[in-house]
Symmetry: C2
């Protein structure tokens, strides 16, 4: 670890799918826009395209499948203990869920208290849970968006770090709206990591303050 590395926040990224948010993070780190580095990527699904993106940048990538860890509910802590083991052994300081499709449990949160962030494709608290873009279209909202938040044991209910909004267009399908929201995600998730890496994020109960000056040192 050289002196430059010492100033970088160590990230572990959990993924399940295509990994476009992972790519935005990798690119931001590489370009020096985010004072952080991705130390490890873990997918709960084998064959996730995100794994290839990690490999392409020389980032260690693991597949950890929950079903390998016995039956539910005992499976969940066993599975998450394995995640914590990998994350810890790579010196991870912040866990980023980037299209990770499982609910996080106590084991992971206790190992990384207020150090797990997630991105959700809606303006929370509207439309938590699965299929947020379709939920928004079905409801008939005219403004949609995305939210980066600290993960707690609720479903998409943790303290909000950043939100970004976009218009819903008349002829939007779940796919076209998802695409527009994804552009917001690719902007605000790296931005949230950047703010945390700079020590500018302070949580007070449910409210997240963004400090003008870094307070990390």
């Amino acid at each position: 670890m050289d002196s430059r590395d010492a100033d970088l926040l160590s990230l572990g990224v959990l993924v399940s799918g295509r990994g476009t948010n992972l790519q935005a993070i990798l690119d931001g780190c590489e370009a020096g826009r985010i004072p952080a580095q991705v130390k490890v990527v873990i997918s709960n699904r084998p064959g996730a395209l995100a794994l290839d993106r990690a490999a392409a940048k020389g980032v260690p990538a693991f597949v950890v499948e929950p079903r390998q860890y016995g039956k539910w509910p005992a499976r969940k802590p066993a599975y998450e203990r394995r995640l914590v083991e990998i994350l810890s052994s790579h010196g991870v300081e912040l866990v980023v869920l980037a299209g990770y499709d499982r609910l996080v449990g106590e084991t992971l949160l206790q190992a990384f208290p207020m150090k797990v962030i997630n991105i959700h494709p809606s303006l929370l608290p509207a439309f938590p849970g699965l299929g947020a873009q379709k939920q928004a279209l079905d409801y008939g909202v005219k403004v949609a968006g995305a939210t980066v938040f600290f993960v707690d044991l609720s479903v998409d209910g943790g303290p909000i770090i950043i939100q970004g909004a976009c218009e819903v267009c008349q002829d939007d399908t779940a796919e076209s709206l998802s695409g527009r929201i994804l552009e917001i995600e690719h902007r605000i998730l790296p931005e949230a990591i950047n703010l945390i890496a700079q020590g500018r994020v302070k949580v007070k109960g449910r409210k997240v303050e963004i400090l003008t000056a870094p307070v990390k040192d």
Copy 2:
């Protein structure tokens, strides 16, 4: 009624307070930005500043107090029958709730089906009901806004016509956020009336389509 008046949508506005949204509507109609005219204003509260604003423009203004109509729950339909009587006798085609602080009941909605619109100071479905701005601050959202919607028997759950968003600032109080949201309200409520007056608003189930070309004639 001259030939110009014949093309104008006749509005009835229900108010309870200061009437800044009423003012935005009156100004928009007067300036010719909205092809509509306010035919009557009704307040459920005596002394509401909104009544003075109506008077200043020469618009007939009434105070109708629910408590004059007996005891709840029988009071509600009796009170609303009086509203319908006044609205109908003034030829009202669209009822606009502009800071009206009561829930609308079946009597009014049956007389004006899908002809009652309301403005709410949040990005619905988030934060329905009272104190939406404070609800938003307490939740810690970073994006807030306002919604114009068709009133149904739900609490702020009807089909959405327009929404507008704004940032929540770090040092916002309920008052400062309310002020910023009010600017959006003053923009989107007249805009919604304008679209309806032009015959460009089509409701399909929960979804409201805004048509490019008017279809009224």
